[in-house]
Every structure is written in C-alpha cells, then in structure tokens.
Symmetry: C2
Subunit: 450 residues, 2 copies
C-alpha cells in the first residue's frame, strides 16, 4: 500500500470536487450567464449563443424569485444592474440571506412550506399581476423554490395542500404524478406566474436541482408551460383510490376538469410570448468543471452521465464494475483515470442508522473495491454540502476503508445494512466535510484510479 | 419516427450480438488459444504471449473435463492433437454431446447434479490419481462444471450435499460463502483434482461464465488453489446458525478443522507445480468482438465494463442515463454511439410472470427511453441463447416499444412489476431468439444511438 499516494489522491478528489462547485455557485452562475453592456442585457455564456435585451425599452426593472440559493443570485443581479433595479422580492429558506440593496427578502420554511412563504408568494403574485408591457421582471429560481413559492389555489388551505402531498407520497405516486396534482391546487406553479406577469417581459434564471434539467419541474415551473391537466390530476387521485382527500381540493379539481376554472397554461399559450427561461447552473456544468480540473491533475477523464438515478447501492455496483474494468483492461479509459458522474440517486431505507445517499454510495463502493491492489479513490458529494440529515457533504473512500473500519471493530456490511454509513465513515475518517455551499445542482461522483 | 432506420438498427444490434459470440464458442475459443506445430503445444493467442510444451516428453496425452460446453472443446482438442490423444472422459449435460473420437462422454444432470455425474467424476478422479510425470492431461472446463463434476467427500451422500446447498441458499449466504462450504465437502473441487493429478502435467482450459473470470470459482476450480479453509466453512454454518445440518457434513468439517483431514490445496502448494490454468473464452472477448463489429457499422464505441452486476432494473437505469447523456451532450461518446457492457445482473422476483434478466433489462430500458425522439436501440442477450426459463435469449427494444405494447393493450410498467417481460416483449415482437449457442460467457448488452 502506497499510503502517501492514496492520501494525495484523497486530496486530489476533494480538489476536483471543490472545483466542480465553482461554476454552479449561484452568484457566479448568474454572472457567467448575464452581462450588462451599453444598456444591453446579454444572456448566454461568452462564446456561446447569446440573446440581447435593450434595457432602455423598459420603464421598470424588478427582481422576483424563490429558492434556497436565490439571495446570492439576487446579489449578482443587483451588482449587474446597479440602480436600474427598482424593486425586488424573493423568498429564501430561514438563514439563507445576503446583504442586498432594494431587494426585500422573506425568510420562510423549507422543505415544508409555512405561512411566511405563502405571504411572500402572495406579494410576488400581486406585483406580477400589476406589471405591464414596460416592465422587465428578472425571476431567480433555485432548488427549494417549490416549497418557498407556495400559494394554495383559492379556497384551499396550506394544511389541506400538505395533507394531500403526504397522501400522495404514502401511496407511492411518482414524482411526476405528485407534481401534476400540486400544480393544479396551486395558484403560482405550472406557469401561473407567467400568466400573472403577462404582458411584462420575464427573464427567468434557474439553478437546476433536477435530473435532466426539466424546466417544468424546477421549483414546479412557475414560468414554464405545464403539460398536465385537471383531468390528469383527478385521474391520479382515482388511480390510487385516495380516501379522505380534503373536500376543497376535490371541488377545485372537479370544477377545473369541468372547465369552470382555467387550466395551467400550456405550451404555445400567449402568456409565454415574452418569457425567456434560462438555466444558469446545472449538474453537467459541475461535471465539466470537474473534468477540467481532473485533466490538469493528469487524469484521463470520462463523464459518464449527469442523469444518474436509481437505488444507490446498485448504482455504486455499476460504477465500481467500470472501475474494476479500468484496473483490468484499461477500458473504458486507461489509467490514470477519472470517471465522473452526476444526478441524484435514492436510498431504500432498511435500517435506522444515519447517512445520506452520497455516504451510502461511498460505503457501498468501499465494499466493492475493498482490498484491490490498485490506487483507487471514490468520492461522492452533494453539491449543497449537505448529505441527508448529516453535517457531511458525502465521503471519500479507498480500498483500505473497509479494513480501517475492521480495525476499529466495525463491519462495513453491517453498517451498510443499517443505512448507517455516517458512523462507519466518521470512524474511518473518510467523511467529506465542506460546510454549506449555498448551491444545489445535485450530486457529483468521482472515481480516481492511478 | 424513422421506422426504416430503427428497423435497420434492430438488425445491426442483432448482427453485433451474433458477432460477439464468434470468439467465445467453445470449439473456436479452444482453437484460438491452442495450436500444435512440430510436436509443440502452443498455448496463447497469436500475437500475444505464448507458452510452449514439447509433446514428445509425454508418454500419454488425455482429455478430462466437465461443463455444458465441454463436448465441442473436446472436439477441438481431438482435432488439434489427432492420434496423439490416447483417452478422454468428460461430463456434459444431457443432450449436450458431440460426435467425438476416443473421448468418452458421460451425460449427467444440471443444474442439480445426479448419480451419473458422480460416477463420471469418480472415473476422472481415479484416472487422475494414476497419472504420473509422463502424463499430459488437458482439462476442459466450462459453466455448469460445478454440478457436472461432483464428488461428495467420503462419508457424505449426494442428497446430504444438496440439502446443505439448499439451506445455504435459503439463509442468504453469499455465493463466496456457499462455495467455501461446498469445496470442503467435495472430493474434487477447490484444487483437489490438481492434487489427484500430481505429478502429471495439466493444462486446464476454461470457458469462463463467472464475473471477473475468477478461476477458483469457474466450476469450483478443480485445478485452482483454494483460499478458503475448513475453519471458514465451519464458521459459515455457525454464522447462519444452521440447524439440522446432516451429521456427516458436520463431522467432515470438524475433523478437517481439527487437522485430521488435509485441507484443499492452497496457492504455493507443490501440487500446482505442473498445472497451467488458462481462460480461453470470457465475457470481455465477446465485448471486444462486439466492439469490432459496431465500429465496422460506423458506431463510436465504448466498452463500459464486462463486470456489471446488481439489480437489473437499477443497472438498466444507469445504462439509460448514459444513453440519455449521449443524446443530450454527446458524452461520454458522440453519436452514432454504441455502448457495450457485459457481466450478469440479478432480478429480485416480485411477480409471477415469465422472463429473464436480459428481458427485464430491455423492458426496464424501454420504459426509460420511451418516447425519446432519438434513434435508439437497446439489446440485452444471454450468450447461451437462453434467458431465464424462456425460449428467448433476451430482447431488442427502442423508444416505441412501450407504445407498441400500449396499442396492444399492455402496460409496460405493470408487466415489469409482475416480472413478466416475456409476455410483453412477445406481443411487441421485440424478443431476441437465437436458439442454443452452446456457449456461456454471461450476458452482452448493446446500446445504439444514431
């Protein structure tokens, strides 16, 4: 065992991870995608396709938005636009604030919404409703925006909305189904902010925490066309034979399905005529930055996919199968190799331990690579610096992690079976601690072989 | 939908799969690795490292072996050595015979062994025991060899051995644990054939049906050093607190652990001095042949890994995440792309339908890629032409497979939940039918994007 080299590779993995965060921090992401020059607002990265808006055509420029990372996004926009910004209102999670200029920040609850969030959203909706064709509205959206931009449709209480969401989660409805229902009992989601803002010009800047960057899913797509209908929502309640659904919700969906309430706006609806939806930060950008740094460190790189989903330990097995093939035959990439992947996996809880999907990925990988003679390091980290209900972002493991645990009296397989990766990796000193990063573009996984 | 192009891609996928089988058919695999020239036996592929044996130093050359693919391997050796082969005895599955010369074939039961197999194995062990240093023994081993080369240790009946195997499977013991126990209640497995044959020269040619080509696992490694001990075997029975283990087995293991019976031979044991273990066919060879053909057809190729294991539908999700990233960003390989992977996945049975891991992989993939606008085809096939208890080798699907099923009134998700991929894919005409291929190097998966 070349202890020195392995330690160095731990450091390299952490360095690559840190670099992956650079282009996706909310402040930097906005500044990468937005420039102001001679009263022109230029949207798009340098060297890529750009669109331009003449700021002089607008009487008023305002910021709105919601999400955990919205405050630094607003800071970037205030810096870019200076005194041109007349007003702003954003909803952020408690404590996720920044010192801002004109923009008013409402702190609210996440992941479960609260009345603060509802009040802040109502204020934004009122503002949008009054906007006219001389308004430019810059919307700032990030992960958490669905809870933080929350306005139940008329006649429905926040409690009733939450009851239904709980029922949908319990019955095993898919996330697409849950979203379809939620959009139809909300006043803001599913393009309804675009309808409120029409005919104002809207530039909606999104930091994506969604696999595949589906814009109608990020914060439930307040400015994005919705493809689901009242009939769909009603059909989902029937499909799962949900009982005791709050009456106000059933009434809302039935009236909608009967055409008495306008449905969420669909693609092609004129309310989207003056809306530009732009993703300023996403998982693939983080992976590309990781790739750049890994190359600088001398690795042959392969970005596998930014769209990885599935049960964590099976996903880990596939990743480690690739790793072992590299060791064996130099495929798909010769050594020194760095395999990079992103997305967000799930963990089926079977124990009562402490951990998160990244720590579970790493402990599963540690078992797969245990004892291999090659110099291998596996890192998995949440880009928000926060993996499950722990203070770690994830972990960094190697072929000796399992052995280090054994020497401390811990069985990796037992801890894995108890979903207790945190307490194993804490003992082996393999946790990845970053503190909050103020962003979230899901997870980054790095597999290094020398 | 470009129906013509998709149809053509189905054909291409099938062609690539068929080509992948070429270097791993048992007859061809032996001929690729073994040559006879001027009384020299040359072992190793042309252009790669080779070792040579002077056949003139031996008084007698014999064939032994066991496994489903052993008959065509024996045919190849008889052709190569001609009249030099003096005798041969192999155990094959009922019906898996070839017209051979001097080699005597015993047909026996697989996957559960029977008395025919035990008798054939005893004959081979007797023969090996009489061999001397003027003997050259060519051993031919393939998948199924563990059941077909079966000799319970003295005092243990075949029934008792099977009882214990059943108990180990039921209690959730790992395959490594089951193998450790089985080797220690057998007279032939775990290097014991090598001990019997010593001091004869042995060339053991293996067709690998094992992930990672672990030689001590292929047919339980009759000529390969064993790393497990009697103590290990006894510890495994204790670990799972197995009750009612046949007394003869407990006695055998306890006597062994007490040093009264010699343990299986370990690495470095002199009984392996004159043994050469050679893998003539394996999954990676099939993948390399697939890669060659895919390139000829104009695809950019990537061999992901030959070592893929894990729950089939999660493995499929990871593969399809890579596929979707190719569509999205041309990573990890630009279009037209062919991703190739091998190994063997598992299916946790939750329904009572008909299928196999390859069909389950394809139906899971069909759901993942349903409706994508790109030209995509996914093939997964068992190289033995036999996927689960069906007459199909696997399947070939595309983004319209789910839709074809829907038009026939079938829900892909429902059929998947019932592990009933066969009946769905039969209806959509997406089954891959090859008939028996006479080989087994696990599975080949192909993902094509144009």
């Amino acid at each position: 065992m070349d202890e020195y080299l392995l330690k160095q590779m731990h450091t390299e993995a952490k360095t690559i991870f840190r670099e992956s965060l650079r282009p996706v921090n909310p402040y930097g992401a906005v500044k990468n995608f937005v420039r102001v020059k001679n009263s022109q607002l230029i949207l798009g990265k340098d060297g890529e396709e750009q669109t331009t808006l003449d700021l002089k055509q607008f009487d008023r420029i305002s910021l709105v938005g919601g999400g955990k990372a919205t405050a630094p996004m607003a800071l970037a926009m205030e810096e870019l636009l200076g005194e041109r910004v007349r007003t702003g209102m954003i909803n952020v999670k408690y404590g996720f604030t920044e010192k801002l200029g004109v923009t008013r920040t409402v702190e609210a609850s996440h992941p479960l919404p609260d009345e603060n969030g509802v009040k802040g959203t109502a204020a934004i909706m009122n503002f949008l409703a009054k906007a006219n064709d001389k308004d430019l509205i810059i919307s700032l959206i990030s992960g958490g925006g669905s809870a933080l931009l929350c306005q139940p449709a008329q006649g429905i209480t926040l409690g009733e909305k939450q009851t239904l969401t709980g029922m949908l989660l319990d019955c095993g409805a898919s996330i697409d189904e849950i979203n379809a229902v939620r959009k139809h009992i909300s006043a803001a989601k599913g393009g309804q902010m675009a309808r409120a803002a029409f005919p104002a010009t809207v530039v909606n800047l999104m930091l994506s925490d969604v696999v595949g960057d589906k814009m109608d899913v990020i914060a439930s797509g307040p400015f994005v066309p919705d493809s689901s209908t009242f009939e769909d929502a009603l059909g989902i309640l029937k499909k799962y034979a949900l009982k005791d659904v709050p009456k106000s919700i059933v009434r809302r969906l039935e009236e909608g399905a009967a055409g008495k309430t306008p449905d969420t706006p669909k693609a092609g609806d004129p309310v989207f005529l003056y809306v530009s939806n732009i993703i300023v930060g996403s998982n693939i950008l983080a992976l590309e930055a990781a790739e750049k740094k890994a190359r600088e460190l001398g690795y042959d790189t392969l970005i596998l996919s930014s769209l990885i989903e599935g049960e964590t330990r099976d996903v880990a097995r596939v990743h480690c199968a690739i790793l072992r093939e590299i060791c064996r035959s130099g495929r798909p990439t010769p050594k020194p190799a760095c395999i990079i992947s992103g997305g967000e996996t799930t963990v089926t809880i079977r124990g009562d331990g402490l951990g998160g999907r990244n720590q579970e990925f790493c402990l599963s990988s540690a078992v797969e690579i245990a004892g291999l003679p090659e110099k291998i390091v596996v890192l998995s980290g949440g880009t928000d610096g926060n993996d499950g209900p722990t203070d770690a972002a994830g972990a960094v493991v190697d072929p000796y992690t399992v052995e280090r645990g054994r020497k401390a009296g811990l069985s990796a397989v037992d801890f894995l079976d108890n979903n207790d990766a945190y307490h194993f990796l804490e003992k082996t000193e393999d946790l990845l601690m970053t503190g909050p990063t103020n962003t979230n573009v899901m997870d980054v996984r790095l597999l290094l072989v020398r």
